[in-house]
């Protein structure tokens, strides 16, 4: 539950569906774009999108990363066959995406590596550089903000070049936006009127569809039309229950460089069906330090401590369970982690930290029961893999929960150290890490 990025394609389709309504029918944005996952997909799309074969095209990956031009991943002003070939040539390719570049245009950071899978294809919008604008909508605690700049282009976010902004209090109607201040001296003539209408309609969309962020960079404004060439957007996914119809079917893809694993998808599905919270992100499946921590706050502190103690490369996962999950939910969560960590044997073994603070209402006995069931199932594999388990937990029924865990450790012959709230919350991390041999190949 948070603001989540959506694909450029989905953002444009949302605008296409709603801008007309939000502008009282005055704006008709056609949103010509297709999303494909192969060259063949593009060929199939051509039946319903005749413009694909009649226009010059732009092809870009659509996987939630920016700076596509600087990363050499925008293929512009090409014909249909070229686009198909380009997509097939890039599909499945592993690339490093950089965010920082030096003035010569060379990458200035390590980059994030991931695989290209999704491409957006659109008609080329011929325009002059001075027709590029920047427009964004974003929220803060007391209201929303509309940002505008005459100088659109890739650098505007960082340079704040010519950026003007207006603050809009929560609940304000789109018609009350002080666009004079925002646009003063930046746009004139025919474009101004059209831009004002577009801004109002976009703001209404932004509010009604529960966008957390909506950015056009650039927005091309000519005398004839206004076209969002590049759109970046985040939706507040906690509003899904309000926006089911407005959004339609929508995908919240994982950030680039982190394809959602089968196990992550499984926990995500579990989380969606549950009133409790279950989260799992695999950071490094070969890492030797695995965590299964209760609580959204405590889990971050456990990860901090692992990193502080110099084991960032060994940290296998980030996750948390909280909100009093049932025994069955905790068992499934634990099984998933135990399964992942017992797939590959390493010299010196691995550690699992079953951590947590002092719970408010999560029943420690009940949740530990689920973990014990998973331990029973994986006991043999845990021993084969030389896995040591370190437990620290407090909260309702913790005495009982810890006692059962001790009993299970004994019965199953597992190497476990079990602590209650008498131990500092993160001291158990050091205890666990100290058991790992320092050098491994």
């Amino acid at each position: 539950m948070a603001q989540k990025a959506i694909r450029e394609y989905d953002a444009k389709k949302l605008l296409e569906r709603h801008l007309r309504r939000c502008s009282g029918g005055r704006i008709g944005y056609e949103g010509r774009s297709v999303l494909v996952t192969s060259g063949l997909g593009l060929e199939e799309s051509a039946d319903d999108n005749s413009w694909l074969k009649t226009s010059r095209l732009v092809v870009k990956p659509d996987q939630l990363f920016g700076k596509r031009g600087k990363n050499g991943l925008v293929f512009a002003d090409v014909g249909f066959e070229e686009a198909v070939a380009w997509i097939d040539g890039h599909l499945g390719r592993e690339v490093a995406i950089h965010r920082e570049f030096d003035p010569q245009g060379n990458p200035a950071d390590a980059g994030v590596t991931g695989t290209l899978t999704h491409f957006i294809v659109e008609p080329l919008v011929a325009h002059a550089p001075d027709q590029e604008y920047y427009l964004a909508f974003t929220g803060h605690r007391r209201g929303d903000m509309v940002l505008f700049s005459k100088a659109g282009g890739v650098e505007v976010e960082s340079t704040k070049n010519g950026l003007t902004s207006i603050d809009v209090p929560i609940g304000a109607d789109a018609d009350t936006l002080d666009l004079k201040t925002l646009l003063s001296g930046q746009v004139e003539g025919v474009a101004l009127k059209a831009l004002v209408e577009l801004l109002r309609a976009c703001f209404a969309c932004y509010v009604e569809l529960h966008f957390g962020f909506l950015e056009f960079n650039p927005l091309v404004v000519t005398d004839r039309e206004i076209i969002p060439v590049d759109v970046k957007a985040r939706l507040d996914d906690s509003a899904a229950f309000l926006c089911e119809e407005l959004w339609g079917p929508l995908d919240f893809p994982p950030p680039f460089g982190r394809a959602r694993t089968k196990e992550e998808a499984y926990i995500e599905a579990l989380d969606e069906r549950s009133g409790a919270s279950l989260k799992l992100t695999i950071l490094n499946p070969r890492g030797r330090v695995w965590t299964m921590v209760a609580g959204g706050g405590a889990s971050v502190i456990y990860a901090d401590t692992v990193v502080d103690l110099g084991y960032m490369d060994e940290l296998a996962d980030y996750g948390e369970y909280s909100g009093d999950p049932s025994t069955a939910e905790t068992r499934e969560y634990a099984r998933t982690i135990l399964d992942l960590m017992t797939r590959e044997r390493v010299e010196g073994g691995k550690v699992l930290i079953i951590g947590g603070g002092i719970a408010n209402f999560t029943d420690v006995a009940t949740t530990f029961e689920g973990i014990i069931e998973a331990l029973e199932e994986y006991a043999a594999r845990l021993k084969e893999n030389n896995i040591r388990i370190y437990v620290r937990r407090g909260g309702p029924n913790y005495v009982q929960g810890l006692a059962r865990m001790r009993e299970a450790a004994e019965r199953l012959g597992l190497d476990m150290q079990i602590h209650g709230p008498e131990m500092h919350m993160t001291a158990v991390v050091k205890e666990a890490l100290d058991s790992l041999p320092k050098e491994v190949d």
Binding site: L283, G297, H424
Partner: protein, 616 residues
Amino acid sequence: MAARPDYTLFDRDTTAIIFGNQQRAAQRMLDFDYLSGRKMPSVACVVDPSGPRRGNMQVFFGRKEILLPMCNSLAQAARDHPESDVVINFASFRSAHDVSVEALQTPTVRTLAIIAEGVPERQTRQLIALKDVLGKWIIGPATVGAIAAGAFKIGNAGGAISNLLMSKLYRAGSVGCVSKSGGMLNEMAHMISLNSNGLLEGVATGGDTYPGSTLLEHLLRYEANPEIKFMVVLGEVGGSEEYAIADALRRGTLTKPVVAWVTGTCLKAFPSEVQFGHAGAMVKGASETADAKNTALREAGAVVPDSYNDFGEKIRAVYDDLKRRGDIVEGPEPPVPVMPAEYLPGTMRKPTNVTCTISDDSGEELLYAGVPISTVINEGYTLGEVICLLWFKKRLPRYAADFLDLALKITADHGPCVSAAHNAIVTARAGKDLTAAVASGVLTIGPRFGGALDGAARRFKEALDRGLSPRQFVDEMKEKGENIPGIGHMIKSVQNPDMRVTLLKEWAAANLPKHDLLDFALEVEKLTTAKKNTLILNVDGCLGVLFVDILLSTGAYTVEEFDEVIDIGTLNGIFVLGRTIGMIGHFLDQKRLGTGLYRHPTADVLYMLPRDSRPA
């Protein structure tokens, strides 16, 4: 109650309305109350929106089992408990916003805690705008709440009894703590108790991007609270609240020592974006990283540890320093409260299966609604007064008790031909015993016979409350095609009035200062008898409306309590009880007469069977 200073959201007199059927949370609050030595439970009322209009929740207050009032609307709860200025909103993310708006707009409510995780951000921001206009406090969403040591706690904050004891939350210390994470609130309270004289107040503002109140807003309260000597902050990666704290430190609006740590330092080591458990823990730019915020706080003068591991030591260092300077003087430690054995982990408190609130035979002397039987006898309670104790749980004015006496006398019998007496006679003559005879008679009492008291009372009162004229009322009932309960008699008419009704009317004129509903009913009778002379106000109707006049005139009932009296069928009790006297009489009469089995004469039955339709 003395007004609380602005910086105090909760004290030992604070009571809350819980929205949501949260038995466990309510019980945890009461356990805390008991440990803290509160005289009164901190939960005034529980709202279960899908529950009945009125109800009770069985909970323990110490050893004692008590009933917390329940109702099904926040408005009702606030009307019943105007002294409660805290609402704990347990509604799900779907309805959390709407319930919160209602809570904020309730004038008696000052502080609202929103527990749900997943409230849409725009909705939360609307709530923030609303509470700003109204000058109220929101804690949450996505939080466990807050705890004021030894005074009050919200819902599940503070955790189980074992933790309340371990972290000494049953008595006030000198530290004000604020954390984003609700789960970490206990952990912080524990750490603080290990390294100082403990918590005075702790708030978890919640893991959302836009919390209803910010870390700084609570710190400013702590700054103003003379009981709080220093503050502990647990921040989180994402957002810029910690910079506001740094600013306040620099500007001198925060002068008390602040020990702070921002979690999420690991994020820099992660290869790509990871969404932490909290929605708000998302970085938008370099300034929102944990490292940047820890540095800013340190530079502004906060005491910032090198890692979470040293947090406790830093708290101890600040505490020791304040002690050395004499700012904190440790008093004698109060004795650790002893919990009843059944509260200990592993043992269960077993709620009773039956609740009784009218009489008690478990003590030395039998009690009727708290009045010892000796008092009832020695002080000469009338039968009507005993009925008041056992039916209404209170002593009503003498004229109300007298009316009950009168009603019983008037309804005691009405001859052998009415259905109850007839059934009792037939049963007696079948050789059955007294209880069977009375039971068979009682079972005939209902909407057509003797049971119209409730209906009459309800219909007439509703018409009067709605301001209908007698004419409008009659027309409306006609339109609905319903008979007016309490109007009409088989035999009696305008020309042949029912003496019982006449007596009741005379009694009312002599004893009641005011009888609006009776007057209204008599106006209605004028209209109905103009149509047909048997459509008189009958004895059921007269008793029903008079009963309403009397109960309302005592002032002992609110409108809602009164509605409940009618809804649960109290009025028909008068007829059932009164007529039982007569039915016992008829049973005894038949036994003395030695009558044989009753068989209805064949001649008195009209036999009308269908013709045999089989082919000849």
